[in-house]
Amino acid sequence: MKEIVVLSGKGGTGKTSITASLAVLAGSEAVVADCDVDAANMHLLMQPDFALSSEFYSGELAIIDQNACTQCGVCSEKCRFGAIPFINNIFIVNPLSCEGCGYCQKVCPTEAISMKSRKSGYVYISNTKVNSTMVHARLDIGAENSGKLVAKVKNEAKELAKQQNKSFVIVDGSPGIGCPVVSSLSGANYVVLVTEPTVSGLHDLERIYSVIKRFRINAGCIINKFDINPKKTDEIIEFLRKENITHLSNIPFDIRFTKAMTEAKTIVELETLPKYLIKDAWFKIKDELTNN
């Protein structure tokens, strides 16, 4: 079983559109994991049935025992997030502002404050429209993605792939280079980079690649919308050559990406040039995985 992680560094390059396309092409050969939990949207294209759900807990939340509270106000004063206002004659924790640092608990003279683990959302195991299994999550309002949540989604997906004897796990990674991205990279066999020929597209590609390089994972790159800036595309190709990253495909700007999306479809479900380009890229990725 091989694990493929799709990353972009920059948002808006078409990462999720391409991941979902790969997931459709792989069909029941793959288990899909949406680790871009801050802005999870792959479910719009994969139409999962939310068959199984479980609560997810991450971080902590301060709770004040009003019977033990002497209303000295030290917690409210010390909280640098302004999370403990005085409302209706009691000090109360605003869960949206509380960062769960636990400082209030330390400074409270009467030990009236305790920390409890905070439910931050749900993890789902679904069947998709292409008859594959998908692991995804939904965060509660104000909750944030974390390395922990990514690890959970990914481990569930890997476990299911093993049980079902699947060849691939396809992971939609999160943008940036932070904790969730590092967590999505550990144990991966291949990274598909999706970029676009813009200044920030190349900048963020270089940045994310420095992280991938550290973990010594082979990578290939798809340049999406390559024709909107031929000069930048050349610069990206030069960067790929220099870093020994496989150039998987150049995909032209195509308004039908959006058209497909409004029909809750991936571009590979419409008869378009990108369909054949992405198909070709998928064969190349599979080749690279068998040759390594």
Binding site: S58, G59, S146, G147, K148, L149, A151, C179, V182, S183, L185, S186, G187, V211, R214, F215, R216, I217
Partner: protein
């Protein structure tokens, strides 16, 4: 020599954990006493953020001479580990601890 492994289990037959920060266990083999010591890392695994540096902190407590792992620590954890006099060997993916130890002894693992 004390050799630390990032591991998914507690014995020589356990499979290596590719992760550094969120590894399930840190298994330490003492070559002098031939004993295995197991450090449960589940508390760190459950941290929302900062798992890499928390595990690096544990390495300072264990003080192994050698660390054998998979992907290797990320940038922040690697910086934190710099002052620890410990060699790091990577790419021991999908091996049992025993196989990983053999590979290390045969010089088959990459040092970073």
């Amino acid at each position: 020599m004390k050799i630390a492994f990032t591991s998914t289990g507690k014995t020589w037959d356990s499979i290596m954990d590719s992760r550094f920060g969120r590894t399930e266990f840190i298994v330490v083999y003492n070559e002098e006493t031939k004993e295995l010591e197991v450090v449960d890392n589940s508390a760190v695994k459950n941290e929302a953020h900062g798992a890499g540096t928390a595990t690096a902190q544990k390495m300072y407590e264990i003080k192994p001479n050698v660390l054998i792992t998979g992907n290797g620590p990320g940038e922040t954890a690697a910086t934190a580990l710099k002052n620890l006099n410990m060699k790091i060997y990577v790419d021991a993916h999908n091996l049992t601890l025993e196989q990983a130890y053999e590979s290390y002894r045969n010089g088959a693992l990459t040092e970073i």
